[in-house]
């Protein structure tokens, strides 16, 4: 597809801890089209944050390594970019909202100081212009009394306001791509509803592409055009949003949807996927989901399935085995 702004091809990432090497990202493929909101869902440890850090060029240098694959942004391979070149992209063309709002704002600088930084770095603007732009962006995310807030410190703000500041920080340089890693997980439902509404509006106004990482299928249903389902460091399914909910092809996706309380009769036992996600060092041959899959057969324990395609709907499961649909 030519209208893709971001392409991840066969990405593999290793971590070294002590003598041990683990590979929590084991062949990730997906594309983000210009202007779309792509959801990445998956349980804790499935590799969502590591994948997004890789896109931002923020993997820990000493302990991690991209051992294979390519990250392509607007037609350029950015996989092995030097830090100096990455700085031109980061916070400018691609920006990110991190999972932990408190840890990603620096407690010793005022909100104004922190919001000025990217503009100082990437734009040739006067002090006055910068302040105006900062107040403007704070207004855009619905922060009241922006003129005062710029002189306040992160701890003086509520969780919801901090998350708004994070969003405004990510918006400052009008990026082409915004990555939001669990942007509302730490927030209350009423505040979550505010922030999601805000992100929808901003995306529309700014002609931006959004990569939205979450473990909450409700948030996905609310926000996304397409969805990538991750499991144990792999992409197991990719589908258009309605198709994903109406006709999930991978048994893991089906299990996730079936275990939503709203999909079950009140007061009865919930559908549940037995067992738990394997840790990176527990993965053996065959399909990563086989040991928890209610539909697994002998082949699933022997051979890793390739990705099968039904039009744009991809799934990595032997149940989809109809020779012609095979992609890899």
């Amino acid at each position: 597809m030519s209208d893709a702004i971001l392409k991840i091809k066969n990405l593999k990432i290793e971590f070294k801890s002590g003598k041990e090497t683990v590979q929590p990202i084991r062949g990730v493929n997906f594309e983000l089209k210009k202007g779309e909101t792509l959801g990445v869902v998956g349980e804790s440890g499935s590799g969502k944050s590591v994948t997004s850090l890789a896109i931002m060029g923020l993997l820990p240098e000493r302990t991690s390594k991209i051992v294979d694959g390519e990250i392509n942004f607007k037609g350029n391979d950015i996989t092995n970019l030097k830090e100096k070149q990455y700085r031109k992209i980061r916070g400018n063309e691609i920006s990110m909202i991190f999972q932990e709002p408190m840890t990603s704002l620096n407690p010793v600088f005022t909100i104004g100081q922190q919001l000025s930084e990217p503009l100082r770095q990437h734009r040739n603007m006067s002090k006055k212009e910068i302040e105006k732009a900062v107040i403007n962006v704070l207004n855009q995310v619905g922060i009241p009394r922006a003129e005062q807030i710029i002189n306040e410190y992160p701890h003086q703000l509520s969780g919801g306001m901090r998350q708004r500041v994070m969003i405004s920080l990510a918006l400052l340089c009008e990026p082409d791509l915004m990555i939001a890693d669990e942007p509302t997980t730490a927030l209350d439902v009423t505040i979550q509803a505010q922030i999601l509404e805000l992100m929808k509006n901003i995306k529309q106004e700014n002609d931006m592409s959004l990569l939205l990482i979450t473990h909450d299928l409700g948030v996905v249903a609310e926000m996304c055009d397409r969805v990538v389902v991750m499991y144990a460091g792999e992409i197991v399914e990719v589908a258009e949003i309605n198709e994903l909910f109406n006709e999930p092809l991978h048994p893991y996706t089906r299990g996730l949807i079936d275990s939503m309380p709203t999909q079950n009769t009140r007061k009865e036992r919930l559908y549940s996927i037995r067992g738990q996600v394997p840790r990176p060092n527990e993965i053996t041959k065959g399909c990563v989901f086989a040991n928890r899959c209610p539909l697994a057969f002998s082949k699933c324990f022997e051979e890793t399935p390739p990705v099968f395609a039904r039009d744009d709907h991809l799934s990595k499961c032997w149940l989809q085995n109809t020779k012609e649909g095979e992609v890899v």
Partner: protein, 337 residues
């Protein structure tokens, strides 16, 4: 269900004083501010509300893990708040707690066997020889193998740890369990496993739960009645089904409308609340919700609303209903307390 009251909470208050240094007055945080409710034997009673509204404080005060500032907690006919230490300790056998964070709530230096034997020993439950047998049975009930007996908490996943926490609470065969966000820290697939375990145990042992959560879809699924809290107060109580079908309080309405949809084709009418939850150290005057309420009237700023009874034990504390029948919305009644 025969509605026998197992727990009655009457006008309970828990204030925390936060010192501001030598010469300044303490800040008073009204974490729980005059709440009353009744939990019936065998039911699951939910407390829902946003972060900081006082859910955990309510749970802890009921079990007297923290002392109430004022009010009564009547459990099975006994006022928990006035019990002496020893009596309280023996009552704890019947009242247990499951905590939110399965990582922080288990002592990392103890094996699973020690963690589960301890409450039996402390409360002198069962004969010494039978205890290990009981522990293995309990592990089996919560779906863990007895091979795990000599392992330490850090060797388990979050879901497994939460099962251990539940086993530890249930092993004393209590009547009543306060479950404080028991599934919030867990992944979707593990969350449903733990909810199922709680449903099974309730059936098997006739347990009564006070279920604390901010997740409305979990509450809708597994509870019988719900109390909605806002800034230390209860604003609405109803049967779970009634609450979701016919929420009376504007805050409850907003809360329910804020829950994400469960299918992309679903179209949901949203009430987006403005602003953030105010601080319980400095709550707004009148009705504490008036600063965010889309229907706020003059009276809401001035006077605290009374609790009104609708049908079947459905109550709401809101001026919309106290003033509705009156001609003038600004009419202030003189019976304020």
């Amino acid at each position: 269900m025969a509605e026998e009251a197992l727990l009655q909470v009457n006008r309970l208050k828990k204030y925390y004083g936060i010192s501001q240094g030598l010469f300044k007055k303490d800040i008073i945080v009204r974490a729980v501010d005059d709440i009353s409710f009744t939990v019936h034997r065998g039911e699951t009673f939910a407390l829902v509300g946003e972060s900081g509204c006082g859910k955990s404080t309510t749970g802890k005060t009921i079990l007297r893990l923290t002392e109430p500032t004022e009010g009564e907690v009547i459990f099975n006919g006994t006022d928990v708040a006035t019990l002496q230490y020893n009596d309280m300790r023996s009552l704890r056998q019947q009242m247990q707690m499951v905590f939110q964070d399965p990582y922080a709530s288990l002592n990392p230096k103890k094996t699973i066997k020690q963690l589960l034997m301890e409450p039996l020993r402390v409360h002198k439950k069962f004969k010494e020889k039978e205890r290990l047998q009981k522990v293995t049975e309990m592990l089996d009930i919560v779906g863990l193998s007895k091979e795990y007996l000599d392992r330490y908490p850090h060797e388990f996943s979050g879901g497994q740890r939460q099962r251990i926490g539940i086993a530890r609470a249930v092993i004393l065969q209590p009547d009543f369990i306060v479950a404080d966000e028991p599934v919030s820290a867990l992944d979707v697939s593990v969350q449903s496993q733990v909810i199922n375990l709680m449903l099974d145990l309730q059936k098997e042992f006739g347990l009564t739960y006070l279920f604390i959560s901010h997740d409305l879809s979990v509450i809708e699924h597994m509870t019988d009645r719900v109390a909605v809290m806002y800034l230390g107060k209860i604003v609405e109580v109803a049967d779970t089904e009634t609450l979701f079908k016919d929420p009376k309080h504007p805050y409850t309405q907003a809360l329910i409308s804020a829950v994400p949809i469960s299918h992309p084709a679903e179209n949901k009418e949203r009430i987006i609340l403005k602003g953030d939850v105010p601080s319980p150290a400095n709550p707004p005057s009148g009705c504490a919700f008036h600063t965010r309420c889309p229907f706020a009237m003059d009276i809401c700023r001035q006077k605290e609303p009374e609790t009104l009874l609708f049908e079947d034990g459905h109550t709401a504390t809101c001026h919309l209903y106290t003033t509705k029948s009156r001609e003038e919305l600004n009419y202030v009644t003189s019976d304020s307390k």
